[in-house]
């Protein structure tokens, strides 16, 4: 973790929990808004967090979203335990989705999740291991 971290919080997220899905991202949005972060940065981080949160709810067994703020950056690490991503290149392609028919009925499966995170973040990296899980790291610069 960054030595200059001024605030950090970890949020556990349960796979398959569609009732609470999205609440972590809304909490993070409110924290950023309350401390006076610029609106466009608040939107970008909230969109990234929502997509990451929904990925855990839809595809993983469980995960943790670690969120920290330094004077220069907002940093988010999302680690999940689950089936992992078979083809990262495809998963990062806009429109590609492995969502089931049931998930599509619930408004997911646009194939925009990871591409949305990548586009909104200033730094983005992803690692995934089949049958183990996925690690996602992204950062948005405050200045």
């Amino acid at each position: 973790m960054d030595q200059q971290t001024t605030f950090s919080q970890s949020f556990p997220i349960k796979g398959g929990d569609f009732v609470n899905a999205g609440t972590v991202s809304v909490k993070i949005k409110n924290i950023l808004k309350d401390i006076g972060v610029k609106p466009d940065i608040v939107y970008r981080i909230s969109i990234c967090c929502y997509e990451a949160e929904m990925n855990i709810v839809m595809y993983a067994d469980e995960g943790i979203l670690d969120f920290s703020i330094t004077p220069e950056n907002i940093i988010v690490d999302v680690n999940d335990k689950g089936k992992g991503i078979e083809n990262l290149e495809l998963a990062l392609q806009e429109g590609y989705s492995t969502a089931t028919e049931r998930m599509r009925e619930m408004g997911f499966g646009a194939g925009m999740g990871l591409p949305n995170i990548k586009k909104n973040a200033d730094e983005f990296s992803i690692e995934s291991e089949l049958s183990k899980g996925t690690k996602l790291h992204f950062k948005v610069y405050l200045n």
Partner: protein, 138 residues
């Protein structure tokens, strides 16, 4: 055609819709609209502070509305969310309208009356997205 600002009350009248939440919320002014059923598309392409037209009636429309500070939702194709969602929207002061018309037709009515889509956050990278705050907060 020039982009117009329009009160939700007027929008309700134009689409022949009904209000699912308190009428007091219909005094809200709308500048941008967006139509989609997939929430990631809303997050990627909608202008923050838009009025959302959708056929999706689950809880995720509320979460996405919160994230993008959406100013209201029109449920199209006669879809009505459950009472729990309507109560939660009322609590959050998020106006909900319902229309029996199709998505295409509802969007067409609003567009032909001067409402437009607006650019998403990613298309407005010059910092002007920060100027939308007066639009999204009442």
């Amino acid at each position: 055609m020039k982009n117009v600002n329009m009160l939700l009350n007027k929008i309700k009248e134009l689409i022949g819709g009904k209000s699912l939440t308190s009428d007091i919320l219909l005094g809200r002014e709308i500048v941008y609209c967006f139509g989609a059923d997939l929430m990631s598309d809303v997050l990627r392409f909608a202008r923050t502070g838009s009025l959302l037209l959708t056929g999706l009636t689950n809880n995720q429309v509320l979460q996405v509305s919160e994230i993008l500070d959406l100013k209201g939702i029109i449920f199209v194709r006669g879809k009505i969310p459950d009472s729990g969602l309507i109560e939660e929207a009322e609590r959050r002061k998020l106006p909900l309208l319902a229309s029996d018309k199709l998505m295409f037709d509802t969007c067409g009515i609003l567009y032909s009356n001067g409402l437009k889509g607006g650019k998403s956050l990613l298309e407005v990278k010059d910092g002007s997205a920060n100027n939308i705050q007066p639009v999204v907060s009442d």
